[in-house]
């Protein structure tokens, strides 16, 4: 029975994330609209957009190779698999054994690799521009993210995300200096990786500023829907990562129905808070020039490195 429950949880958790991803995107959009004195689109608009796109004909550039059509599926599958490594409402997660935190970052890397190749495939200038910039962002963001993971792995002595959350739940010291650095780095990286303001703007097709949208310009129909859904899932994935690593309280540590029932509303609350935080920061910050992005990302990388070093120097005795 226990085995069955945990297996069901393993299958259910990523699907739940997948189902909830557009909602989070809609929520951020909605809060942002309210902060800007607009009414904003309904919360469910992202779902309607996806349904509309899935129903539409897919147009592919004549210049594109077969890789262009395969990429959306790979991107989607890799992002979904990465999400399967995250504990959502319970730390009892067999799926997490397949891929630990490092593999999660690797899977995101696979998704990005294919996405960037797809951006280059049609041979258009904007696609290449988005691709080159995406690789610039990731050159710093991925190592910074790895360092954040390393900081927590050194503390909890595991790279398994469920194990990390478990260790944090069972630990006594909560406010470690290294965690603060790591949290700051993770938030900065998350913003960059998900293509949000101030690094990229998901709401614009203004040619000279786009990164993520530049790579998707040639996509349409079901291919675009998959790419968009994967991007929304990635946003949720980073939010979940923040929750699991730094605010895991409320996660069920065993397969107990009551604990599971309690975990869900608490999680929704935490995610809503993060969404509000993102919306506020996107409202008060302006998008920066592309040339300033390396500075921003280097800061994130250095913060993560400081977190790691402050762990080995200050907290090694713990």
């Amino acid at each position: 029975m226990d085995r069955f429950l945990s297996l069901a949880a393993a299958l259910l958790q990523p699907l739940l994330l997948l189902a909830a991803a557009p909602l989070l995107a809609g929520l951020v959009r909605r809060i942002k609209a309210r902060l800007q004195n607009r009414r904003g689109a309904p919360l469910l608009t992202p779902y309607r957009d996806l349904r509309k796109l899935f129903g539409k004909e897919a147009v592919v550039a004549r210049t594109a190779s077969p890789l262009f059509r395969a990429a959306p599926y790979v991107v989607f599958a890799a992002t979904l698999l990465a999400a399967a490594a995250l504990p959502v409402f319970s730390t009892v997660l067999p799926g997490a054994r397949i891929a630990d935190a490092i593999a999660l970052i690797g899977l995101l890397g696979l998704a990005r690799f294919m996405l960037v190749l797809a951006g280059l495939d049609a041979g258009t200038p904007f696609g290449g521009m988005g691709a080159a910039r995406e690789m610039l962002v990731t050159s710093f963001a991925e190592p910074a993210l790895l360092l954040v993971i390393f900081t927590l792995a050194m503390t909890t002595h595991t790279t398994n995300l469920a194990g990390m959350a478990d260790a944090t739940l069972g630990g006594t010291t909560v406010l470690r200096p290294s965690y603060l650095f790591a949290l700051a780095a993770l938030l900065m990286v998350g913003v960059a990786e998900c293509g949000r303001i101030p690094v990229d703007n998901p709401a614009t097709h203004l040619e000279l500023t786009m990164i993520h949208e530049g790579m998707l310009l040639e996509y349409s129909g079901r291919h675009l829907a998959l790419m968009d859904w994967a991007a929304q899932l990635k946003l949720l994935l980073f939010a979940m990562l923040t929750v699991d690593l730094f605010l895991p309280w409320g996660l069920a540590t065993r397969a107990d129905p009551l604990a599971l029932l309690l975990a869900l509303p608490l999680l929704a609350l935490k995610l809503a808070l993060l969404a509000a935080l993102l919306a506020v920061s996107e409202t008060v910050l302006a998008k920066m020039r592309v040339f300033r992005v390396p500075g921003y990302l280097t800061l994130a990388f250095l913060l993560a490195l400081l977190g790691l070093l402050s762990h080995v120097i200050l907290e090694a005795a713990l």
Binding site: V59, L120, D121, M135
Partner: protein, 663 residues
């Protein structure tokens, strides 16, 4: 006779087959088909023998030796094969076999040229025999003879197409550094032989030189083998020499010869020198990190496909040496299990690099064959012109970018797992250094992904940037089969890391006295299951299942699957191929950000902007060294004025000084 007893005879057969391949090659001068009908099949035989010997040595944990009736009367050549040599025999065989399948198709191009096929065949055979000899040698004498054979034969391969001036220059730089490296290695063996009282490895292993001499031997070995392995700052020959050689030789040089240097280093420091020192480890970590970061940064800026691959080799060997440094640190700190893990990470990285770089160099050769250029700025859209090569090249790029479920990720993951055990160390300095190395590795990995996205995206995707690329053709069956063999090897290394690591674990056991557990066929749990686990097969299965499900569910019920149209590109006029991102343009942001690492020269004219990215090591190290040598030559010339009287005076003074010393 049991199978294990066959190990050494098989290895010897491999050497003989390689020598035979060299011996029959002169026939090619009269009869060009000798190369494809005799020389290459013999190399294939050598590869199969090496593969079998390596597998047996690892599988049965064999340690066999033999004394040859060759060499000097008082110094006969000794052979031996043990698990450490087995690992590298395996690597050599795994790359040589595909190369021998690929080679005939590639060499056909030279048949009508001015280049001598006989030279190619003889040099290749001797080169392979030299590498095998290094792996099998059990005394310093044979080791050095085989080493020099390998270096010299590969020199002739680098200057094979000597009508190009830059090939001659590359070959000269290569020869120079190979000689310096050979000298340093000879000195390292000298130190060890002095302590051990003999040239055989067994004597050296038994003796323990005191700390100072051990450190000197280590430094000499690191510089000597490091120069051959392409470690910064002795790497400058590598990006010149590897692209100059014919592509299947580039594959052998990059995938195997660098590993032979790695083998030599492992043999001397981990096996013969014995006592591990944290100081060695720190040196290795620093040198490895520097090589990795500098190598990947330079790879990012190359617009020549083969040069790019060569710089990426520097990066990969840097990662290997970084992991070796971790192994040395853990071993010195008394954690043999962790040392074994780091060593396995290094060996696995080396194996992966051999397979991946072999595939990519063969792919680059196919591109050169099909599109007649290897400049990224003239390529483009090759995936549609050369689909088979293109998809296999993609696998190589994904592997080099270290993304799951490919093999590059496995070794990177293992290295990270080893580095993350730094909390077990007691020394504060080491505890800081190891995470810093992990950070350097993380940065390297992200940049490596950029390197290979750029290489693949520019060369194989988009639209053709030149006429020859527009009319590129797919290569023939043999060349495809060679690449396919390497893809098969990559698939095994990617999906079944457990059993392979179990085999490589024998070598780790030999060198560290410990072999990591948890190498089942499905799960990879090198420490313990709660700490970390990775399972590539389920990852691949889920990826395929989700992808297939998506395709099935989303495919339109009626009508065409997709509609073809001009690129949208925000509604501008259809772009021309020249409006695509160029290789230099793609890497421009990184060129700005990492400007201090490059020797940049940019010129802007009315209609074009030219960028030249050089290696700072030339400016900082080699140019001053060259000037110093010139200065020294000037001084020497002053003494050598050409007057007999002055020479007599010099002789007299020398004689007087000697007499004074003696008395």
């Amino acid at each position: 006779m049991s199978a294990a007893a066959l190990t050494l005879p098989l290895a010897e057969a491999a050497v003989l087959a390689a020598l035979a391949s060299a011996a029959v090659s002169p026939l090619a001068a009269r009869w060009p088909r000798a190369l494809s009908l005799l020389a290459f099949p013999l190399l294939g035989l050598a590869a199969v023998c090496a593969l079998a010997a390596g597998t047996l040595a690892l599988g049965f944990d064999v340690a066999q030796g033999a004394v040859l009736p060759l060499g000097l009367p008082w110094l006969p050549w000794q052979l031996s094969v043990d698990p450490l040599a087995g690992v590298f025999l395996l690597m050599l065989g795994a790359v040589l076999l595909p190369v021998s399948v690929y080679g005939p198709g590639y060499a056909r191009e030279f048949r009508n040229g001015r280049d001598s096929l006989a030279t190619l065949g003889v040099s290749t055979g001797l080169f392979v025999a030299g590498m095998l000899g290094v792996l099998l040698a059990a005394d310093a004498y044979l080791f050095m003879v085989a080493w020099e054979l390998m270096s010299l034969a590969s020199y002739f391969l680098v200057c094979f197409q000597h009508e190009h001036a830059d090939h001659r220059r590359a070959a000269f730089v290569y020869l120079l550094l190979a000689h310096v490296a050979g000298l340093l290695i000879l000195l390292a063996f000298g130190v060890l032989a002095a302590a051990g009282g003999g040239f055989s490895f067994a004597a050296m292993r038994a003796a323990h030189p005191d700390a100072l001499w051990a450190a000197i031997a280590f430094a000499l070995a690191l510089a000597g083998f490091g120069a051959k392995a392409g470690l910064v700052p002795l790497h400058v020959w590598l990006p010149e020499a590897h692209p100059a050689a014919p592509s299947h030789i580039s594959a052998l040089m990059s995938a195997v010869m660098l590993k032979v240097a790695l083998y030599g280093f492992l043999r001397v420091t981990f096996d013969l020198l014995g006592v591990p020192q944290w100081g060695y480890g720190v040196t290795l970590v620093v040198v490895g990190s520097a090589s990795a970061v500098l190598g990947v940064l330079l790879a990012l800026q190359q617009s020549d496909l083969k040069r790019l691959l060569a710089y990426s080799s520097i990066e990969n060997l840097g990662i290997v040496f970084l992991a070796l440094g971790l192994a040395q640190i853990f071993q010195a700190a008394g954690h043999p299990a962790l040392a074994a893990l780091a060593l396995l990470a290094a060996l696995y990285q080396a194996l992966n690099h051999a397979l991946l770089k072999g595939l990519l160099f063969l792919g680059a050769g196919a591109v050169l064959h099909g599109a007649h250029t290897r400049s990224l700025d003239r390529l483009g859209g090759l995936l549609r012109r050369m689909p088979r090569t293109g998809w296999m090249f993609l696998i190589g790029c994904l592997g080099m970018a270290a993304v799951p479920p490919l093999n590059g990720f496995v070794s990177e993951w293992l290295t990270f797992q080893a580095a993350l055990q730094a909390w077990r160390l007691h020394d504060g300095l080491l505890r800081i250094l190891v995470p810093l190395a992990a950070a350097a590795l993380a940065l390297t990995a992200a940049l490596a992904a950029t390197v290979f996205v750029r290489a693949y995206g520019i060369a194989f995707l988009g639209r053709a940037r030149s006429r020859s690329t527009r009319h590129a053709h797919e290569v023939g069956g043999g060349m495809l089969a060679g690449q396919a063999l390497l893809v098969a090897g990559i698939a095994v290394a990617a999906l079944l890391p457990g059993p392979l690591l179990g085999l490589l674990g024998r070598a780790a056991l030999q060198l560290t006295g410990s072999a990591p557990a948890g190498t089942g066929w499905l799960w990879l749990t090198p420490l313990d299951p709660a700490t970390s686990s990775y399972a590539p097969l389920p990852i691949l299965a889920v990826l395929l299942a989700v992808g297939a499900l998506g395709v099935l569910l989303l495919r339109p019920r009626q009508g065409a699957a997709v509609r073809r149209a001009d690129p949208w590109d925000c509604g501008y006029a259809p772009p021309t191929p020249r409006m695509q991102y160029s290789a230099a343009g793609f890497a421009q942001p990184q060129r700005r950000v990492f400007a201090p690492a490059y020797a940049l020269r940019e010129t802007t004219a009315a209609d074009r902007h030219e960028v030249e990215v050089g290696d700072r090591t030339w400016v900082w190290l080699y140019r001053p060294l060259g000037m110093l040598a010139d200065r020294a030559a000037d001084l020497a010339r002053r003494a050598q004025a050409g007057h007999v009287r002055r020479y007599l005076a010099w002789s007299l003074i020398t004689l007087l000084v000697l007499l004074w010393i003696v008395s």
